[in-house]
Symmetry: C2
Subunit: 150 residues, 2 copies
């Protein structure tokens, strides 16, 4: 028989509940994104630029956890679709910034409110107090987990 401490059992239990919940919640988001003819990664890039403004490609990869080769691929596609343009950085010629075009911004202005509403519904199983608790717990959990990754 395998020896597993009660603490470990509880940790595994939390991990499973966490994963299942994550899948169910993100499924709402994914369906909405797909319904607009976008892929999750494309949406993530557009959302980042929409909220944070022009970003170096490197930053984009770091923010949404994408390998550099994949960043090139997604940015290529979005640029071909006219959603954004590449702009060379004048201060550092190694760097390229991605900037939303008017078309890209319009798209996000059109779909983001709906998307926010989908997210609101997806997490509406918790009331305001519970959401507050969940935020505090998840923030702590995530921060500590990130620390231990170094």
């Amino acid at each position: 028989m395998t020896e597993t401490s009660r603490e470990t059992e509880q940790a595994l239990h939390l991990y499973r509940v966490f994963s299942r919940a994550y899948r169910s919640v993100t499924e709402h988001s994914l369906r909405d994104i797909k319904s607009h003819g976008l892929h999750p990664t494309e949406f993530a890039v557009l959302e980042l630029l929409y909220h944070k403004g022009p970003q170096p490609l490197q930053q984009i990869g770091a923010s949404i956890l994408l390998a550099s080769g994949s960043v090139t691929y997604v940015i290529d596609k979005l640029e071909k679709n006219g959603m954004l343009i590449r702009e060379p950085c004048p201060k550092d010629r190694r760097v390229t910034h991605a900037t939303l075009t008017q078309k890209g911004r319009s798209l996000m202005e059109q779909i983001f409110p709906t998307h926010a509403e989908v997210i609101r519904l997806a997490v509406s199983g918790l009331d305001e107090q519970e959401k507050k608790q969940a935020i505090a717990l998840l923030r702590k959990l995530g921060t500590e987990a990130a620390k231990r990754l170094k």
Copy 2:
């Protein structure tokens, strides 16, 4: 300016904290899995069979959310590596069961305790009481989100 209700703001905030926490926690798991030369999907299949015993391929896909074509692909690979075998179901000839070989079972016996310990550490940012709260909140969140997917 975009009108967004306070509730929606809170929901988006929860979603972001949730996603970040999930990435940090799962990164622990992914690194451990990789360190054993396995891919996440392969590990998921092995873990399922290890804990639940032989399963129809269809069940495997349903459990770990994998398209049927991908199931065939992963099972092929694991079978070639000698981790499992396919066994035709005598009662229903459409069905194939995947069963761990001794080699596959030994591998899991060897790596699962370590993996459990990695998970324990990954979520150790919360104490026992907090884990209990998190489990309750995440279960509720996940269950309600799943309901709304129908």
